[in-house]
Symmetry: C2
Subunit: 460 residues, 2 copies
């Protein structure tokens, strides 16, 4: 039996090895020209890490008004760059190309849109592939654990530098939805409106499981080398596999039913263990496209930050305490070899429990289960208190029924929680299966319904 | 940062190497003592392969009646053995322990239950780990591609040998549901009743995608060695990763929400990239338990056979033609080195299309889309004609609302198709989320609702 899918992986490894032998180390990841802001003030991270300095890559569209009152901060999904839209400096199409521009969802005739590459990313912002100023070497997995709030704090340093006091709106989808809400909690007085599309108030175990699978597959690639692959062959196979799993979570069964059904790539050939059905070649291709486009360590850190996302008051309090405890680190001088990025030798050395998890026969049932299947009464209070700071910010919550990764019930959870927190200006829109079958990816594709809702909310 | 999850994998590899150095090659996979039936007549497979001879492992419970009219054939899920229930020869608990026995769902006071390990499996039946009689070596990936119908034909050879003319019932869940329906189409006159639990009439692209991800991850393990790992280190890491992905598809979000929520394995430790949240240690443990319990090649072949499952008349006709064309192979004498297992050198050498799949902007929409989001009008006729042979067999179709892998709409598809085919004796039961949150695994866990429905259907 032949295995063209494995041959392809082996060829790519050989190609990378021979390329780096002739042309030096691999190029940095980039989606083209962007602006950069570097903060020389250290940043204390939620889990105790410190970045002595950091850079945020960003791009802008539309003119900033004289009073700087028309600024929209656009947050990205996991793997996106600041390049949301083509511009003069970089004509390449952006990831929200059709949503930004004159008369579009984010109307550049009215608004000044700023999009950043997240802290921890690889498209110009400081992340695991960056040089640790402490020793001049790449951080790799010495990079500190990040949270959504850390990413938002870094963005607001940029806004401070630009002299933007209050945002007209904070807008984001997927992980960007998380950040948009996190910004509302951290800086309620600096945000006029919030848009969260296919986001959540906290990561639920099913989403964690789906990301866990991707991380495990990536970390299993021996080329990953526990994060120290820079200068060598990157874990392109692990990245390809992780991206295929991710792609399954980004779309929906009914869409694939319509689009691929049971079509085989080549019906004249007998079945094979390598990609065979059209859906398989589609996934394979999605993996191929991505496997060298994004830094593996960035994927791990940003994916982990998504898991850690929880706007419940208990988590916020615990982080607040820990930040208080670690505040002294901002004053300390760091030795270059003992505390790369801020004390990671103590962080992240979790050992597995010696007694493995034992299966329960039945899940607990009772009045604590909400109709949506998520959260219980106690957790709900926890979230209501957590979102209390956002009670005065008009918010649009957009969800998609066919979304598996950030299911519709999690969108209802955001809207319900905000309303319970006293927010009387919450608009909740759910796109049914009759409107969009694109699942989680609807936010990238459905210009009419997603774009339309965003536009009318921002301009009302 | 430390990586205990990677350390564990490396330790296991070392342990396997040192163990095999001292105790010889790895033991065969087994779940204990079972009966065996060997057919010396060659078996022609749907895709042109030939097994010159084959063995089927099986176990039985309850007494066969004098007229042999009380026999239930129980089909297994993907990775199960014939050991559905403990017995004198093998007291180990079976995979349907609480569903089989005096007074239980399959009442052994009334029925004689036969369960087989599938053809292609590794628990005693002929599969990729078996010796190819042509050359005395393990088949590995020289094993021919299998289908559900091939597995069912092998089972009926066993029934022939046991002198069982007509089954009282054919019962199965998950892949067993596929087989149960396939048996109804292949041998309608030999089956009294059919039970399909969380099965389908054909595999849909989303399920194929989920299995594709598992196969790709497994095949990426260098220890898999394109299937030729026998005598060496088996691809335990690939198996562990594949099982973790599978586990995500076997359960449901709401159940995990209740059971794990956002609990961390050890809240006193800082976050880590290795398993950290309780849901992650649960998945890790599920992978650990399975990674040396099942043959990797069996997983690939049986998983692929599930993808190929399609009871539509178009597929049945195409297979019928191909079988007709290959029938001469049953008469031929085979040279031992050119046609291992029946012409595999020609089979399975699919090359990928040179032009990769291009993203469409919108899926096609229109009247062809059914309410369920699956199948179109043409396909539906295709299935109705395909299930026409089953029109006189009373059938119970059981589904679970929280099932992601074999969603409830696919259960409705089975029932609707059977009814359209003229079957007036179709019972369709759907367990709502208020009854079971166990997703696809409900068939293993919900004795009351699944077992209860099966029992009353079989005894009505």
């Amino acid at each position: 039996m032949s295995f063209p899918c494995l041959d392809a992986v082996e060829s790519r490894t050989k190609e990378i090895v021979s390329r780096s032998a002739t042309s030096g180390p691999e190029p940095s990841y980039t989606t083209g020209v962007h602006k950069e802001f570097t903060s020389k003030d250290p940043l204390l991270l939620d889990y105790g890490g410190i970045l002595k300095e950091f850079t945020i890559a960003y791009e802008t569209w539309g003119k900033m008004s004289v009073g700087k009152s028309n600024v929209i901060l656009l947050h990205t999904g996991l793997s996106a760059s600041s390049h949301a839209k083509s511009n003069e400096d970089n004509p390449r199409l952006g990831w929200w190309e059709k949503f930004i521009g004159p008369g579009l969802a984010l109307d550049t005739d009215r608004f000044h849109v700023i999009c950043t590459n997240v802290l921890g990313g690889c498209y110009g912002s400081t992340g695991p592939a960056s040089i640790d100023p402490a020793d001049g070497k790449r951080y790799a997995t010495r990079f500190p654990i990040l949270t959504m709030s850390d990413m938002v704090r870094a963005q607001f340093r940029l806004l401070d530098a630009l002299g933007v006091g209050k945002l007209m709106a904070s807008v984001g989808a997927s992980m960007g939805g998380m950040q948009s809400l996190a910004a509302g909690v951290l800086y309620p007085d600096r945000i006029g409106r919030i848009v969260s599309i296919s986001g959540c108030v906290r990561s639920h175990p099913y989403s964690i499981a789906l990301r866990h699978a991707q991380r495990q597959v990536l970390m299993a690639d021996t080329n990953w080398n526990r994060g120290f692959y820079y200068g060598g062959v990157p874990p392109h196979l692990g990245m390809k596999l992780a991206r295929q799993i991710a792609t399954v979570t980004y779309r929906s069964g009914p869409e694939w039913e319509q689009r691929f059904g049971r079509q085989r790539a080549d019906p004249s050939r007998p079945p094979a263990l390598c990609p065979d059905f059209l859906i398989e070649t589609y996934l394979d291709h999605a993996g191929e496209k991505f496997c060298l486009e994004y830094d593996a360590n960035s994927l791990l850190y940003v994916s982990k930050a998504m898991d850690l996302f929880d706007l419940g008051v208990t988590n916020q309090d615990s982080i607040r305490k820990s930040r208080q405890k670690n505040k002294h680190k901002l004053l300390k001088t760091y030795s270059s070899d003992s505390e790369h990025g801020g004390g990671e030798s103590e962080v992240c050395s979790l050992s597995l429990p010696t007694v493995p998890y034992t299966e329960q026969q039945q899940p607990s049932k009772g009045s604590s289960q909400t109709e949506s299947g998520g959260g219980d009464a106690v957790a709900s209070d926890d979230l209501v208190l957590g979102l209390f700071p956002m009670r005065n910010i008009p918010t649009l919550v957009l969800g998609v029924e066919s979304d598996i990764l950030f299911p519709a019930w999690q969108q209802r959870e955001i809207a319900d929680t905000l309303r319970k927190a006293g927010n009387t200006n919450v608009k909740h829109v759910e796109l049914g299966q009759d409107v969009s079958l694109f699942g989680h990816d609807s936010f990238l594709l459905d210009v009419k319904n997603i774009g339309g809702s965003v536009k009318s909310f921002l301009e009302e």
